[in-house]
């Protein structure tokens, strides 16, 4: 009998690779993966944007959404997007932290949301305990 080792899906474990794939989406200008304690795990951002403060605030926002959303019914939040007139930030929640993507105003929100949803799912499957 051969020993079968149930390996975790590789895609969701390689967070840098996952982020690199997401950054190929049209009109996505940068992104990062941040641990719940605010430490940057991976980042690929335009030169003028500092990773550390953005990570700290993304983790704070992610935790706020995990703990209490802006509604009476509490629950998990797999994904959120925050838009200004000059760009949008997408935030996905996973067991190992948060994935942040930055998009131009003309970015296709539905496409980015679908890709991020898929990435979040891959991380959940890969890091399931």
């Amino acid at each position: 009998m051969s020993a079968v080792v149930a390996e975790r899906p590789v895609l969701g474990r390689d967070l840098r690779g996952l982020l690199a794939e997401l950054l190929k989406l049209e009109h996505v200008t940068g992104g990062l993966v941040v641990a719940p304690d605010g430490l940057t795990i991976a980042a690929d951002l335009p030169r003028e944007i500092q990773a550390e403060p953005l990570s700290a605030l993304a983790a704070t926002l992610g935790r706020e959404l995990e703990l209490r959303g802006p509604q009476l019914r509490r629950g998990t939040f797999p994904m959120a997007q925050f838009a200004s007139v000059s760009g949008t930030a997408f935030l996905g929640s996973t067991p190992v932290g948060f994935i942040v993507l930055l998009g131009e105003p003309r970015a296709d929100w539905d496409t980015i949301r679908a890709a991020l949803r898929s990435a979040v799912g891959a991380v959940y499957r890969a890091w399931a305990r």
Partner: protein, 259 residues
Amino acid sequence: MAFARIWHMLGGRRRRPTSAQMFRRAQRLRDEGRFEVAAELIENALLSEPGSVVGHLLAGSLHMTLRDTGLARTSFERVLALEPTQPRALLGLARIAIEEGEPATCRELLSRALARYPDFPEARALLEVARGLAANADATRAPTPSDAIRSDRVRLPAESREALFVRRDATLVFATPRGPRTEAVAASAVKLARIATAMLGRAGFGPLRHAVIEGAAQTTYLRTDDAALLTLAFDSDVKAATAVAHLERVWGSCRSELA
């Protein structure tokens, strides 16, 4: 021959790893996502070296990753007992304070960290948020008139499960349904908008105007400007375009009523 055997036995006996080795291994395990194993290893290493700042910091970080805020706080406090201005521990405790709705404590912790280490961009970014939240908490709000805006006048959509309209100082204007937690939810929505605006600013964007927050059963749509904030929650099967159209219409009504 006998000497060679004894030498082999001595050489082959495994030495107990040092605490430093255990902490390094724990860090590797953490990076591999084996959080519980890493936490256990750190706990063991700290038994033999209870005064290790690195060990307690790692433990705090792991507890935060596992979303165990109480244990994380204990770890960071132990670090500060050993090294009162340790910046990562001050930042960790400041993050916990902001999570727990204590912006003044957060501000004080971050100010301590920045007084010692002025070049600490994470602390500076969080301090901006904490200052804004603390100012909000300190502000004396005007009492909310019960009929400031009646929700029937803004014609809430039938599909909407929850609606909330609030001034940016967290004064509630109306909420449907309204319950004992409504004021807290209003404050939470304003806090969320403030953190999101700070994050967008750090990303080189302007202030928050729209948000969509997906939940397990409902999706919340948020619209805001410098003066007010509206949220409408819909069941997840309501199309985004429909929800956004409702949001914009209700937002227009709310803003003209408020004016």
